[in-house]
Subunit: 514 residues, 2 copies
């Protein structure tokens, strides 16, 4: 068998059975191999940012890597923005990137570029296969690397001849190294902080945001009086009725400073020392108050669940019960459409076991609190600040969890970066309800312009933040890619469209003026 | 004045008066400065690949750089694919990329990344400004670098505090170094090749594809019996009636090998030793025949016009006339829509002084020959093989040349990568007629799958090349972004829509089944 087939067999045997692809000539042998080996689902995206964002959504929900299939340096370049988000989310992903055949790379062909150089900023591991006999072994290593630590992006570059040349067959995938067990000293230090008389925060991130570790953290908080918070941006939170309720650090830097001002100690559990999204003149970068002592219980890549159990024992939380959120929805709102009433409406109607993909940016502030008591669901966020993840992330989450409804909360400006994902929603008939918040502006930048001290903006500056003239029509954009869509001009219409979309399979898009 | 304003003033004084922008928080001071300084046209793109492709189109037509304004590593990442094309086109571009404030970069903020690492593969020059007082000087250097040699991509990274801090005011832009004068030996060697009895090719690329150097090349060919050809992919060819007619090396490798098989010598004039787009099993990478001697008259970055004059003198072409293409259009075709009749139709109707942006890929083979005798026009191509350049390139060309009609010949699969450009067509009311070749497939890959020897593709492989299920509706996509559009179901309808679009200002899109 050729190198491409040896790689496909290696990936499938290693548990990698989903590939998000936007292939070109140099990847044709990989594509052809997919028909000779059963077991790989291949999902086409019409732009590479869709592919990488979908792989991120898949990895966050499946807790295992998808492969991407990308075309040389420029194709990988198009995938970088969402790979950046995946790196920050610690999502396992295996990029398979075709390159020119080894002998061809010495010439200045049009598509020749430094593929490794493009990969490096958004990959924990980069390797170019030397020959067809190395491809399977390199692919097996990529799988292992992707599952190492908290989860990583691994990029394997395949010169075309390594795909078409004769291989030695598939290679076995090794298990990733065990997660690091945190030291006795770290547990003791966290215990001492929690048993001090000072106001203490448990800041919980990464894989600790699943329901089991959150329950353990809640028991620790019950035993010690500590407060729980999550970082501003998180890959995935398990929340809703029957789970631990959890606020997040606010995005606006002044609100975050105020929120955290009372704490004297913080214990980091899979989270990092919280930093403001951006720097602003006259504001600090780190948002914990001066003099607040930071204790690390567990880094994101450590064995967090085990560390939490030991800490619970150490603080005597063994017999405490976690505080769980009761089922409690807002009433279906009436009146005019506003960000607040939309938030309440989604809280009232969010279906059981939903996956919420939140790239609502400035429009979504009311939705997270209004869904706190909705039936249990997962909440996926923009982790790396690179907008344009929502529609792709929803794609991958829906592929990973075909029996669940994905609700994509999508700001219009951000949605435009990767709107091609809607076509994949349609082709794969994915169960995704997309709500487009149509404010026709980069609304967050209107605030940021003032926050950074750029006062009295003129018309040229304001034009750069204004998405009207012409207005985007998301119903037409969706229909142009085969997704049924409608515009909700009232709360009643939004309620009806949202509810209807949940009852039938496949994608639906609702544009809401706001 | 702050660093941002010192940079804007430096750019404008240096002749850089157009900025294609997709800004974020860290670029807000630059945006705000645009209103305090007259003379910079700022054009918003809703995706960074639109911005970089537009800067490429602008630079190719204006022969000077536009600036881009991009948001940190991921924003630059989204721009890379079309920057790759710009590098291969030797287009001068100045990327202005915001980064976190210097003090903020040490923390793992969500948008923190290795911006220089992202820039390097697609930039000839990368610099991060140290402080607000360096920004103007760095910006001036970027302008000079962009205009050095054949034209280059320069990337200037501005930590936010360098934009908001106090500067020393604008800096003067130095002229780029003079282009290298080719040596007497190179002229003598080219002369000897041309005066030999062996079949000789003048392969002409880069800036030699403008009408004046092409006329000089034609006179040389007249005097020596050499044949003229252009490379497969070119940034800009001045062609049509009253200009030198020029065929290009064929894209399919076997056709290129056949086309070049008779030559024993080739003189490179602003072109490189021709290489096949991809490597194929059993085919050579370089397409000149074995034993053909390659002589370099001028590298792309050399003073090509001066070299051609000296060569013309050396071979005694002083009194020769160039062979110029007479005005000669095909008749307006009748009958069924086909790639051939569409080609003839565009040849029959192409307006005087048009700028043709050709990303028609597999659908456009008939158009280049059918427009050979159309009124004088410019022909812009995909230079780096990274698809998704057409609609952005048309944007930039139309901004650079507001009095000319841009005709964008756009394959549907490629168009989807950067369809957001249509919104900018509408906002700026650009004079662009876009023809979408709607074959609903990555048709080139259907051929390539066989060419690389991946035989008997199965359904999974074929699905990766198939853009139907669902069908894209480009009329809706265009209307969703404010561009008037229609689908031509017959040649008569296409003729009518195409002609009408030329008569009125602003953009229009025609979807043609093919």
């Amino acid at each position: 068998m050729n190198g491409a087939e040896s790689l496909v067999r290696t990936l499938i045997a290693g548990g990698v059975d989903t590939c998000f692809a936007n292939p070109g000539t140099s990847e044709m042998h990989f594509v052809a191999a997919l028909d000779r080996v059963a077991g790989m689902r291949c999902v086409l995206g019409l732009f590479e940012g869709v592919v990488s964002g979908a792989a991120d959504g898949y990895g966050r929900m499946a807790d295992k890597p998808a492969a991407t299939l990308l075309h040389l340096g420029p194709g990988l370049g198009n995938a970088l923005a969402n790979l950046h988000n995946a790196c920050k989310a610690a999502t396992p992903i295996i990029n398979i990137v075709g390159d020119h055949a080894t002998r061809h790379r010495q010439y200045d062909a049009p598509l020749t570029s430094d593929v490794e150089g493009v990969a490096r900023p958004m990959s924990a591991w980069v390797k170019t296969s030397d020959d067809a006999r190395s491809v399977a072994r390199d692919g097996a290593e990529a799988v292992t690397v992707s599952l190492t630590g908290a989860g990583q992006v691994a990029t394997l570059i395949l010169p075309a001849d390594t795909a078409w040349g004769e291989s030695d067959g598939p290679a076995a995938v090794q298990s990733p190294p065990s997660k690091r067990r945190v030291s006795e000293e770290m547990v003791a230090e966290a215990r001492a902080a929690l048993l001090s008389d000072e106001p203490t925060l448990l800041l919980i991130g990464g894989r600790a945001l699943r329901s089991a570790p959150l329950e353990m953290a809640s028991r620790i908080a019950q035993a010690t009086g500590a407060k729980l918070l999550a970082p501003t941006s998180n890959a995935r939170i398990e929340r809703g009725a029957g789970r631990v309720a959890l606020d997040r650090i606010f995005y606006p830097v002044q609100q975050a400073l105020d929120q955290l001002s009372g704490f004297r100690r913080v214990v980091l559990i899979g989270a990092r020392n919280p930093v403001a999204f951006f720097a602003y003149p006259g504001k600090p970068s780190l948002v914990l108050p001066p003099g607040c002592t930071v204790h690390v219980l567990a880094e994101p890549e450590d064995d967090i669940a085990e560390a939490l159990e030991r800490l619970a024992d150490a603080v005597g939380a063994g017999d405490r019960k976690p505080v769980l959120q009761p089922l409690s929805r807002p009433e279906l709102p009436r009146g005019a459409i506003s960000l607040e009433t939309i938030g309440a409406l989604i809280g009232a109607l969010l279906p059981e076991n939903a996956i919420v993909v939140d790239e609502s940016i400035n429009s979504g502030g009311f939705i997270y609190p209004s869904t706190a008591g909705a039936p249990a669901h997962d909440w996926l966020q923009l982790t790396g600040g690179s907008i344009g993840i929502g529609l792709p992330l929803a794609t991958g989450a829906a592929v990973a969890c075909p029996d669940r409804r994905v609700v994509a909360l999508q700001a219009d400006g951000s949605g435009m970066y990767t709107l091609q994902a809607l076509w994949t929603h349609a082709r794969e008939n994915l169960n995704i309800t997309t709500v487009i918040f149509s404010n026709r502006a980069y609304a967050s930048l209107e605030t940021e312009l003032k926050n950074v001290g750029a006062m009295n903006p003129g018309q040229i500056a304001l034009d750069m933040l204004d998405l009207s003239r012409p207005d985007l029509n998301w119903v037409k954009l969706a229909e142009g890619m085969g997704v049924e869509a409608a515009r909700a001009e009232s709360l009643e219409s939004l309620s009806c469209l949202f509810s209807e979309s949940l009852k039938r399979p496949g994608p639906f898009l609702i544009e809401v003026p706001c």
